[in-house]
Symmetry: C2
Subunit: 213 residues, 2 copies
C-alpha cells in the first residue's frame, strides 16, 4: 500500500503527470514508464519514479505502469474523483471569474455559492451560482458541511472573513487576498499570491537586463 503522506514538492508535480497522461495520444502500448513521463516534462527520472511510487504500487520493472490504472490512482490521490463543496467570499471581479470558472469540477471542487457584503451584489448570480448576503454564511456552511472557503475580498477584510469561515467549520482556506492569514493549528491556508508572482517575474527581467537600479 503506497504511503498517503507525500512532500509538497511531490504534490506539486503530480497534477502535471496526470495532465500529461490524459493528454497523451493513445499509443500502441497500454503501458507508460516513469522515464517517458520524465522526458516529456523535462524532469529527472529518479524524481518521477519516486513520486509515482508514493501514489501507486502497480508499476512493474522494465514495463512501467498501465496508463489507465495510473490515471485512476493519481485522480484518487489528488482528490479529483471526490468532489468537495466550497463557498467563496467576495464577489468582485476575481470572485465572479472564479464562480464562473467551469474547470473546477474536473478537479473535484464544487463552489456552492458566493457571498458579498455589498447589497447591490448580494442577490445576483455569477456563472449560475447565487451570491448571498454575509448573514447567511454560517448557516450555509454548517448545513452543507462546507470544508473549503475561498477568500477573494480586499486584504483588510480577509482576516475577519477567514475567522468567520473557520468558526463555521472550514478546514482549508484558499486565499486570493494579498495578506498573511493567521489560523489555528489544523487549518490549512493555500495562498494564491499574484503579487509574489509579479515580483518574481519583475526580478527576472531586472536580472536579465542587468540594471542594478
Amino acid at each position: 500500500m503506497p504511503s498517503r503522506s507525500v512532500s509538497k514538492q511531490t504534490l506539486q508535480r503530480l497534477p502535471a503527470f496526470l495532465h500529461y497522461l490524459k493528454s497523451r495520444p493513445e499509443g500502441p502500448s497500454r503501458y507508460i514508464s516513469a522515464t517517458a513521463i520524465a522526458e516529456a516534462l523535462g524532469l529527472n527520472d529518479v524524481v518521477v519514479r519516486k513520486d509515482l511510487a508514493s501514489v501507486s504500487s502497480s508499476g512493474r520493472p522494465k514495463v512501467g505502469y498501465v496508463r489507465e490504472e495510473l490515471i485512476g490512482e493519481l485522480e484518487r490521490f489528488l482528490g479529483y474523483d471526490n468532489t468537495q463543496d466550497a463557498i467563496l467570499v467576495g464577489a468582485g471581479k476575481l470572485g465572479k471569474a472564479l464562480l464562473s470558472y467551469d474547470v473546477f469540477p474536473q478537479y473535484g471542487l464544487n463552489i456552492l455559492a458566493g457571498f458579498d457584503t455589498d447589497p447591490r451584489v448580494a442577490g445576483t448570480e455569477a456563472g449560475g451560482k447565487k451570491i448571498l448576503p454575509m448573514e447567511k454564511l454560517e448557516s450555509l456552511c454548517r448545513r452543507m458541511g462546507v470544508r473549503i472557503g475561498i477568500i477573494t475580498v480586499p486584504g483588510e477584510q480577509a482576516q475577519g472573513v477567514c475567522d468567520r469561515l473557520i468558526a463555521s467549520g472550514v478546514l482549508a482556506v484558499w486565499n486570493f487576498a494579498n495578506v498573511h492569514l493567521s489560523v489555528p493549528q489544523g487549518v490549512l491556508v493555500q495562498n494564491e499570491n499574484m503579487a509574489v508572482s509579479l515580483a518574481i517575474l519583475s526580478n527576472h527581467l531586472k536580472e536579465r537586463s542587468g540594471t542594478t537600479k
Copy 2:
C-alpha cells in the same frame, strides 16, 4: 549597497512585508523594527532581519528602519515602481478577468492588450483593453518591446503560444495553463497552477478526516 540577488523564499516574503508596512496605521514613531514585522506576520525575526538586510542598508541597530524609506526600498526592489508592459493570450473567462483586474498597475504590471484566436472574441474589449487577433501578436510585441507574456489558453495550445511569445522577445511567461512549458535558458516561467492548489487543499482535508481511501 545591498545585494540584488535574493532567494526565491525571500522574494516570496517581501510583498507581505510591503503590504504590512503600507496597511499599518500611522503610529507615533517613524521607525519600524524587523522584530515588529516578524511578530505581526507570524515569522521568525532572524528570517525577517536577513530578508530586509538583502534589500535595504538603511536599518539601524536598536532603532530599526524608517518606515517610509523601507516602503520605497521594497517597492523598488520588487519592481513595483517600474511598470512593465505585458500582453495576455487567451481571452476566455480567466483571461478577461485578468484583463479587467485593476490592481495589477499597483504591482508594476500594465497589460497592453489581449489576444484570441476566436474571431467572435477578437475585436472586442475587456476591462477597457483591446482583444486582438493572433496575427498581430508578433508585431505588437516587437513594436512595444514587450517582455512579459501571460498565457490563459487551454493546455493543449499553451506551448505553441509560449513559443510565439518567446520568438517575439518575451523573457518572462506567466503561465495560467495547467501544463509544463519548455523554454530556452534565460526565459522564466512562473506557473499559476490552480490544479496544484486544489490538490494541496484536498490532500489536507483527506489527512484531517483520516480517510485512507
